[in-house]
Symmetry: C2
Subunit: 560 residues, 2 copies
């Protein structure tokens, strides 16, 4: 990439073309009306160019956990890189704001984000409440227009990435995790975003073809119950020939070969009593699927009866494929007691391996996919199971356990004057000022604390003690001498400041960063039950400033 230096930054002034947001519906109009009415009021007051600094942050980690993964940054940057109101959009705004002066619409026509600066934490990072994920600085009227789309783009992306990371955590690193949520997602964009961000949060693949194409995510999928029940019987299969894997020979009657294997399975001593007559339309479906895709035979075995029909039918087809040099992939269970059925299926596979000397048959892949979520996977783990891969849909992509993250966008400074948002609810008081944020790491490589400081303060240094204060609890403070210091907010959109800009990483780079960050978290922050809150702090100087400003802004009550 031209204009990109060795540190992964786009040089000041260098041109790197950034396309628009993934969803073409993301436009400057995808915002709340009040952003435009406020822009008009700012403009009328001659205040629209006032230089404002806003922080985008959330107040509470989702899912009862103590961490969040940041997603959605790239989409925000793509929006501002292409932020321009079209004539027809201006005409529409004129129609809904009929009392506004013409000059305002001329102003709107001119605005873009060339004088907006965006600092942000790297996408895919583990993040915590109150610390700005993004700091947006620019003319107040323009930055306010960005509030709604930025919060929209970050909220769900971060929520679903976090949900994926939590599912990965409970499933363990050795399992394959498949995102199967498109049909239950909250709309098409919900489905496509879910696939993208679940991959970032640690999933291995998706069933969503559009997302696979857009983002290069690996795809997975075989067949449904409808495929099985669309077959009536073996006589439907007319072309019964299958070439061997190496192309050296052709089995002219693959159906007969499968039937002979089914017969052998029925007669095998170790398997006797497991099953009798299997369902012949299911067998026809399996054979048809194997004839079409012999390299990738994975069968859904629960349409009629898993152990009495699906698994034996699968094994007969898999053994016949084995004769021709193909290796079947495995089975999928989509109902019933997944722990029990996976164990029974595994036993059956092992017995087949032993009985017929089919190498590797016992290691056949077992995928499970019925209404899975963190709790059911945890329960399966406790019961013991033989599932290798989990296909997860509804609960994952709709974030069923908590369907929204509460990211907010708060004014922290205007014309160099720090601003605070007060609230009777102390957790809703915002942290004023333009700030820098750092993550301090301890000896064992774990992250210890995040600290926010005023922009003009001296940053924390490796090996030097610094006092970290809880911003709203005066008694909570601690000295930290970090072994490593990481600055969190980096410049992703320099406006006209002529600073170099961070390159947007690829999805798989963000996924790697996410995995690395999760590994750097102390295990007690990650556990599902009563996790320890990660510490978020401010410098002593910022602490004092917050409380000075708070007192000066809060009205003094009068007990009447």
């Amino acid at each position: 990439m031209e204009g990109v230096d060795l540190n992964g930054k786009v040089e000041a002034g260098a041109v790197e073309e950034l396309g628009g947001p993934t969803n073409p519906m993301v436009s400057p109009l995808l915002t709340d009306l009040y952003q435009f009415t406020m822009a008009y009021a700012y403009w009328k007051a001659g205040k629209h160019l006032d230089r404002a600094v806003f922080d985008l942050f959330f107040r509470k980690n989702p899912f009862g956990g103590e961490y969040t993964v940041f997603g959605g940054l790239e989409e925000c940057i793509r929006l501002i890189a292409n932020f321009k109101l079209k004539d027809e959009e201006i005409s529409y705004l004129r129609s809904v704001m009929p009392t506004c002066e013409d000059g305002f619409f001329d102003y709107l026509r001119e605005i873009d984000c060339s004088n907006v600066e965006v600092y942000a934490i790297s996408e895919g990072s583990v993040v915590f409440p109150k610390v700005p994920l993004m700091r947006i600085e620019g003319p107040v009227a323009v930055v306010q227009l960005l509030e709604t789309p930025f919060v929209n783009l970050v909220n769900y992306a971060s929520l679903v990435t976090t949900n994926a990371a939590r599912h990965r955590f409970v499933a363990g690193k050795s399992k394959t995790l498949l995102e199967f949520g498109l049909r239950r997602a909250q709309g098409p964009d919900g489905g496509i975003s879910a696939s993208r961000y679940c991959y970032m949060g640690g999933f291995d693949a998706t069933s969503n073809v559009a997302a696979g194409k857009l983002f290069g995510i690996p795809l997975r999928g075989t067949h449904s119950h409808a495929f099985v029940s669309s077959f009536m019987g073996l006589d439907e299969i007319t072309d019964k020939a299958l070439r061997s894997q190496d192309g050296s020979r052709t089995c002219e009657d693959f159906v007969g070969l499968v039937q002979s294997w089914l017969h052998k399975l029925q007669l095998a001593d170790s398997l006797s009593g497991f099953f009798g007559e299997t369902n012949q339309s299911e067998l026809a479906a399996f054979i048809s699927y194997a004839l079409a895709l012999p390299h990738n035979f994975l069968a859904l075995v629960d349409t009629y009866d898993v152990m009495r029909s699906g698994v034996p039918n699968f094994c007969a087809v898999a053994l016949a494929l084995n004769d021709l040099g193909y290796k079947a992939s495995g089975i999928r269970l989509d109902s019933g007691d997944l722990a029990y059925l996976s164990i029974q299926a595994r036993k059956f596979f092992c017995m087949v391996e032993k009985e017929f000397g089919a190498p590797g048959f016992g290691k056949m892949l077992v995928t499970a996919s019925n209404d899975l979520n963190e709790e059911t996977i945890d329960a399966l783990n406790k019961q013991g199971h033989e599932v290798d891969a989990f296909g997860i849909g509804t609960y994952l992509v709709t974030c069923y356990a908590q369907a929204a993250l509460g990211c907010v966008f708060k004014l922290v400074e205007i014309n160099n004057q720090p601003r605070i948002k007060l609230s009777e609810d102390i957790t809703k008081v915002s942290i004023p000022r333009k700030k820098r944020c750092f993550r301090l790491y301890g000896k064992e490589g774990y992250a210890l604390v995040d600290i926010m400081i005023g922009e003009d303060e001296i940053p924390p240094k490796v090996g030097e003690r610094i006092l970290c204060r809880n911003p709203f609890n005066e008694s909570k403070r601690a000295y930290v001498a970090p072994q490593r210091v990481e600055e969190l907010l980096k410049c992703y959109w320099p406006g006209d400041s002529h600073k170099p800009r961070e390159v947007l990483p690829s999805l798989s780079e963000m996924r790697d960063l996410c995995m690395q960050h999760l590994d750097q978290m102390r295990p007690d922050h990650m556990r599902r039950l009563n996790p320890t809150p990660y510490k978020v702090s401010v410098s002593a100087k910022l602490y004092d400033f917050i409380h000075f400003l708070w007192l000066s802004e809060a009205p003094v009550g009068e007990l009447l």
Copy 2:
């Protein structure tokens, strides 16, 4: 519209152009990979043209209720009206299915939905579990490709429309309901869809400008806390002049006029003790907003202190506007005890009306908007409040109480052979056959029962007794002599059947239909606590057939 007859149908063969889905990301690739692998297996087996009938339905009403509103149909029809795989999409599929034969991709290149038929219930209708919302008939390989996008498009649309209808039910018909959810929605499409379907479900307006433009939904919005805190004081206001509403005169010092009103309010006997010094930066923000938009002055009054600052500041500005012939709109409360604060604010407005003879001041609009949902509105109703309009976001648009609807898409017939999907869970057994569905109404105009019959059966007639059987409980059955019979499934996409096609109604027509349907529901089905389930039934003949097929397909167990 040419080719549309008097009954609102598009004549067979008439051309009515249907644009693509609202979200351009909805394409034939927005589906699960297994739909394509199955299509390949069907094609390899020479089975891809087999005529299949699928039902799209759900099994359980959401939110613990006993009704659902059907949404998403128009988007499905727009998808199939434009269903064609592009060359680059075919190339991508070829890359992810490398072992498939070339002929298959030639076949994919040719497919469209010209031989698919879609029958559906009208969008906006109240619907119930097990009754097909849509019946899709066509070549099995093509119809399977539609499964994922159809279910995706219907699930969230129906869920959020239902959620909106439930919020309308609890708020009552007299309140104004505003959808404010864009920033918390599950992605951009989630936000845009929410605005559209909440309007359909009975909301009055949205804050989402893009949705307003796309669908003609009324827009609402004023200003945020950031607007208030962006002002430092009255000296920021340089242009203080305001022309009167009728244009006859100009107040050169509107700031002075407001200050004099604030002084009068402070001195008024009836208001004394209510407040002392108000926040001057808030006052500056209100004045600036009023100077910009004097026709539409609605102020957010909780940035500092509702009763000690926000409401008096608002009243001073509103009274000054009143002097110039403008009528202020009202206030918005976004925190605190909404019941108490709305009552206090109302009292204050009434006292101002009385004290200063400001006509209509007591009826000032009070909007509330902090984390509202069905429960909080219900609680407000029980406590008593003075809120006129509710602005609802997170809980509404993310369907927080239940983030997914479980629509499914099941094969019910192939090549005229009825198919059943069995399950150990009786609620998951599908109802086989190509069916017709009717809603039977009683004397008082309420809907009594929905009944499904085989396609070749005689439909129910007004005044004639018909036996309605619960499909899975032999003891539950009742005779009904309907006063009115409504056929539910209508032809929305005739394929090449040369039948006339229903015209897609406008959003406001669907909203009207939804309101009308909700009114036709017996109140005990609608109530929030322990609602009565609405009855869904099958004809005696269909009942017998289901159980005949079930027995013939289910494996006979053996107790070992």
